[in-house]
């Protein structure tokens, strides 16, 4: 333990904006951080309530001062009941410490002080005991610990002045060691641990089980099972695996009747699995800090939420089972029972995929009873919507079905919507108040949302601390029409037909409409469990042992990642190292640098006394999301540096991608002319101005019906139709009418008389030859054989009886001109038809 440390008041904010205020530098063994500074002033007293029936009324001396009275109201009255601590720790049973004695609350207060940590209530002996399973009054010790913490906080909260303090203590000095890491391939798991799980645990821990129970580590799909099993396996010490402890110490569904033997079998299987894994060793060339786990850090979470009017709270800390406990400490607890697809979310929370978390109507009636009295309330939640496509998806609902509700906070696309039954709305709480759709305030990411109601201001919705709704269009009313028989449901409608998909990391109900400041206070307080992690670099920089650290605020970010936030350089001995370079900081895990998410890899800083604040020198204001590997209990972190003081690591550059191109299948070396090219081509060969209104109008109509890309494979019959139409339009413009012949007609076909109706019978070559030459070009070997083209247009006569060498008939129509003549067409019409046939074909289309 060191001396001469620093004290600061610290508000661990989720948003990255932090408020620090200094207090005295007086602590001896540690740096002390207080966790309530910066929070808004509170005015309401916590809700007090009558103790459950069956306990003797208090007849002893009155509280001797305000502190004792607060103790009596907030802690003692809750804990003294016979179903809780009052069953033993009183003067009747005589179990010490008698902190809930019923004869003299002043003596109880004195006893309680011996088992309460007034600076960090969560570290109180009382919390530790119930959290460890000591006579917890429900089935989840962690929820008892949370409730006990709440009582102590309510007792101490407003008398603490500067809020609760967090003490930074030097963590154990551990060198980063070789680590066993889970292989990506499931084969080894499938051969060792998986058979034991399938044989003995698949009755519940399988998605196929009739009584399916998460985690699905015995799932028929081995990949699913592997992912689910990882957090329950300790590769380094198989005996410490949760799967082994569950059998050996907690006697959880031992299959043979001999839990010890079953635990040993599980341990052996895990040991066999671990034995086949080569450890990841730390590169000796790396410049590294000491190592520690997340849980070795100092707890930073909680404590500065505004909770004075809180009447229900779900923090989802339990992490297993199918009940989420109401840890508000206000009886009766509205515990939520899971049904359907509801799973626990890493770092506290539940994820709803296809189910709901619903309370009994009896427990839910707490809301009716209290809110009927207050006439106002707030719904608060930290949520992660799974998507922005769901509609009328209930996040928090106190209702009976799709048409009957007291209140509902729901998601519709990018909006939060708040339905509330008052005397001015209908029984379904409509019309709903919605966040402005155009603002798209709802995002599929972690958000803090608060819906408040009071008769003066009506409904309001705050998202991430900001009021985002306009004035409630519906005037405020009373809540007299509420139904007491409705059930509180998270993630669905009570009737199951309002599914919301997403994650709820915290939910709370308050009996008051929270103010802007209170909303912001709770937003700033963040959600989830956070730790201060101290990475020792004393040795690297030549400082006194266990004096110099890189401080991170770290948390499990979600089921799959950690968040490391805002590194500082801090000393615990008051020293201020000067001129020491720090470059290229990376977070390493289980023997190797994390492969992704290295936010601080570009860090380039120098330690300087002038940069030091109360938390030392800030190195970055940014956060790093890093992939979770074994879980917060087992992942061992350390830091690496490219340069730290005189130590450096020569980092090899990541290899450049070498692009190796391979042959493609041969593709046609010819293609189509596209729309504009076709138009321009027709204009060029017909000498018709493409801006001629009739032509241009036709082209603009046909433009997107013509080929748009050159590939032959894209040619469609509809293209052919458009080509024909455009060709005919151009030919029409080229030839014109008797009264208005095409402007270049005479020049193009000088020997052709358009006014002679027998011209195509007597003088067709004067038209056909120039036409072919102009459109097809001359002497171009890649074009069709000119004689064949001419024959089709002007000379072929059906032989009717001729056959080829194979005896097949050569019977086919006569040439186009003769057929048009036979049809009785006039000269201009025949010319236009022949022109169109010549223009709108592959001769011009293919390039």
């Amino acid at each position: 333990m060191k001396t001469a440390k620093r004290t600061a008041t610290y508000s661990p904010l989720a948003t990255g904006m932090r408020v620090l205020r200094a207090t005295a530098i007086t602590v001896f063994a540690s740096a002390v951080l207080a966790a309530c500074g910066g929070g808004a002033a509170t005015t309401d007293n916590p809700l007090t309530q009558a103790p459950p029936p069956g306990n003797a009324p208090y007849t002893g001396p009155v509280a001797r001062d305000a502190d004792v009275l607060k103790f009596q109201q907030e802690f003692w009255s809750n804990a003294k009941t016979s179903d809780r601590c009052g069953s033993c720790h009183n003067e009747v049973v005589g179990q010490t410490p008698m902190f809930v004695r019923n004869d003299d609350v002043n003596l109880a207060y004195d006893e309680a002080l011996t088992v309460v940590n007034t600076t960090q209530p969560a570290l109180s002996r009382l919390v530790e005991k119930v959290g460890g399973g000591h006579n917890c009054w429900n089935t989840d010790p962690s929820s008892c610990a949370a409730i006990m913490t709440t009582w102590i906080e309510n007792w101490l909260g407003s008398s603490g002045g500067g809020g609760r303090q967090i003490i930074l203590t030097p963590p154990p000095s551990t060198e980063p060691g070789a680590s066993l890491n889970f292989p990506a391939d499931t084969a080894a798991f499938e051969a060792t641990v998986y058979p034991v799980l399938v044989a003995n645990c698949a009755g519940c821990h399988s998605s196929e089980s009739a009584t399916a129970q998460q985690p699905y580590f015995a799932d028929p799909d081995v990949g699913t099972a592997y992912d689910a099993a990882k957090p329950k396996i300790n590769l380094d010490t198989p005996a410490n695996s949760r799967m082994v402890i569950r059998l050996r110490s907690e006697f959880h569904n031992c299959w043979s009747g001999d839990c010890s033997a079953d635990a040993q079998a599980m341990e052996d299987a895990i040991a066999a699995f671990a034995g086949g894994i080569s450890p990841t060793t730390v590169d000796p060339n790396l410049v590294t800090s000491k190592a520690l786990r997340l849980v070795d850090g100092t707890l930073a979470a909680g404590g500065n939420r505004y909770e004075d009017a809180q009447i229900a709270l779900w923090e989802f800390k339990t992490g297993s089972g199918a009940i989420a406990y109401d840890t508000s400490g206000v009886d009766p607890a509205i515990d939520l029972n899971f049904s359907g697809g509801v799973t626990w979310f890493g770092g506290w929370g539940i994820t709803i995929t296809d189910g709901k978390a619903q309370a009994s109507t009896t427990a839910s009636a707490k809301l009716y009873d209290i809110i009927q009295e207050s006439g106002e309330f707030s719904i608060e939640a930290w949520v992660v919507p799974a998507n922005v496509t769901q509609e009328e998806a209930r996040i928090v609902s106190y209702s009976a079905g799709t048409t009957q509700r007291n209140f509902t906070l729901q998601q519709t696309l990018y909006d939060y919507r708040f339905q509330l039954r008052t005397t001015t709305t209908n029984l379904n709480g409509d019309p709903a108040l919605s966040t402005p759709s155009a603002d798209e305030v709802l995002q599929a990411t972690l958000q803090h949302v608060v819906a408040t109601y009071d008769p003066i201001n009506g409904r309001r919705i705050y998202v991430n601390g900001s009021l985002v709704t306009q004035i409630d269009p519906v005037p405020g009313g009373t809540l007299i029409d509420w139904q007491r028989e409705f059930a509180l449901v998270l993630g669905n409608e009570a009737s199951g037909d309002g599914l919301w998909q997403g994650t709820i990391r915290l939910a709370a109900i308050h009996r008051r409409a929270m103010t802007q400041e209170q909303v912001m206070q709770n937003f700033d307080a963040g959600v989830g469990e956070r730790f201060f992690m101290l990475f020792d670099i004393s040795e690297n920089i030549g400082a006194a042992p266990e004096s110099s650290y890189i401080l991170f605020e770290a948390a499990q970010y979600d089921t799959y990642a950690y968040l490391f936030d805002r590194p500082h350089f801090i000393t615990l001995d008051g020293s201020t190292p000067e001129g020491i370079p720090i470059r290229g900081l990376r977070v390493a895990m289980n023997g190797a640098e994390a492969r992704v998410g290295q936010t601080y890899a570009t860090l380039d800083d120098t330690l300087s006394a002038s940069e030091f604040g109360e938390l030392g020198q800030p190195l970055s204001s940014m956060g790093a999301v890093l992939p979770l590997e074994k879980g917060p209990q087992d992942d061992e972190f350390f830091l690496t540096f490219d340069v730290l003081a005189g130590n450096s690591f020569s980092r090899p550059a990541d290899p450049t991608l070498v692009v190796t191109e391979t042959d493609r299948p041969p593709s046609p070396h010819v293609g189509l002319r596209t729309f504009d090219e076709i138009n321009a081509t027709y204009a060029e060969v017909t000498l018709v101005d493409p801006t001629t209104p009739a032509v241009d109008m036709t082209y603009q109509e046909l433009r997107q019906s013509l080929p748009a890309v050159e590939s032959l494979n894209t040619f469609l019959s509809s293209h052919q139709v458009a080509i024909a139409q455009l060709a005919i339009q151009y030919c029409d413009a080229m030839i014109g009418t008797a009264g208005s012949p095409g402007p270049n007609l005479a020049a193009l076909f000088p020997g052709f008389d358009w006014n002679d109706n027998s011209e195509f019978s007597n003088n067709r070559d004067a038209f056909v030859n120039p036409l072919i030459d102009r459109i097809m070009g001359t002497n171009i070997g890649s074009q069709p054989v000119r004689a064949e083209v001419y024959e089709e247009l002007a000379s072929y006569q059906d032989p009717t009886t001729a056959v080829n060498a194979e005896g097949e008939s050569l019977d086919r129509p006569d040439n186009l001109i003769d057929r048009l003549i036979a049809g009785g067409s006039a000269t201009r019409s025949i010319g236009k038809g022949v022109c169109a046939a010549m223009l709108g074909n592959a001769v011009t289309l293919v390039q």
Binding site: T599, Q783, S825
Partner: protein
Amino acid sequence: MKNMTYKKGKFARRLARIIGPWQIALIGALLAGFMATAYAGPREQAKRIHDRLAGVPPTDAVLQAMENQIAGGDAVGAAYTAMDNKYFYNVTLKNFAAPWTNRDQSVFVPLNDYIATVIGMVRDDIDFSTLLSADLTYVGRSGIVAAAPAANNNNHFDQLEANNVDLSNTNDFVAMPQSSILGIPSSATAGVMTSRAASEAFFVAGTNRAMFRFTLLNHMCNDMEQMLDTKLPPDWIRQDVSRSPGGDSRLFLNNCIGCHSGMDPLAGAYAYYNYNEDTGMLEYTPGNVQAKYYNNDLNFPQGFRTVDDSWENRWRQGQNAYLGFDNSLPGSGNGAKSLGEELGNSQAFAACQVKKVFRAVCLREPENAADRAAVNTITNTFRSSGYRMKQVFADTAVHCMGQ
């Protein structure tokens, strides 16, 4: 052929009016009847070069001249002859550039200042590596159409196209400083990236990442997926990118991070740009980061918060260094112009232009070693001889003129 005999549509009625209804089917039967053969002497090569470059068949005189050039060993000269045709500019180049100017990559868009700038730079052999950085645009000469070039509408270019103005005519279609039309400082111009058309398409709403993505797509021939590199540090990824989309950080760590870690540091260059839909103009706000850079900034408050228009090219390291950035440039800077220089002087930019020309002229992708060697040779020539695009068109047309 039954589908050729339209009997009810207005085109069918128009056709019937012109030539009589019953002949329509007969004509249709001939439409697709003529197939090309596969012989390629100098005359056929000249025809193909002209078809591919000008988009229209040559006149006899031009064809003869080109044939003579090819026969005389000057196939490139023949290609330059083909590029004298106005339709090389009015059609081929217009449709070459049109898909770059809109998000749908549609070729069916009106002529605009982006396309005009490309056409002009090619025509006048302007150093094409300045495409993304120059203070340059091309417009019709004063008075050639009713509408003057404007910062808030496309009327001028609409009219140039409607009137079929000859864009090969150096008197009628002329260069202008882009800054003089858009009313932004010359230092704020960045070639076609700050053109009105690109602004309207890619600086509108959103977060300005679209401008970077489409520039990458159109001028580096890579989409973001090809750039995915999850090893790069994510410290410049903006606050609006959720690190746990829908509550699952694996999405971020395996996908989002790989593109944003490179893109966001580069797209910082556009921090002062916005397309104002109300005014129809590009806004440039030097010193003031556009509000769009702070959209959804509470999605991950610990992310990067843009404070200026600085940018940094993280792709100079790691797998994407193969894009071949110019080592004589710093790899970082402020504003779109220097970013345009960084991109425009890369090997990938030059190779991309050549590949696009190859596609436009050869009507296919490079498909074998000979094609790839030709692309490399043409690219090297392009880079070493002043980035002249006409040279690229000519060399490519000669490569694909057939044998």
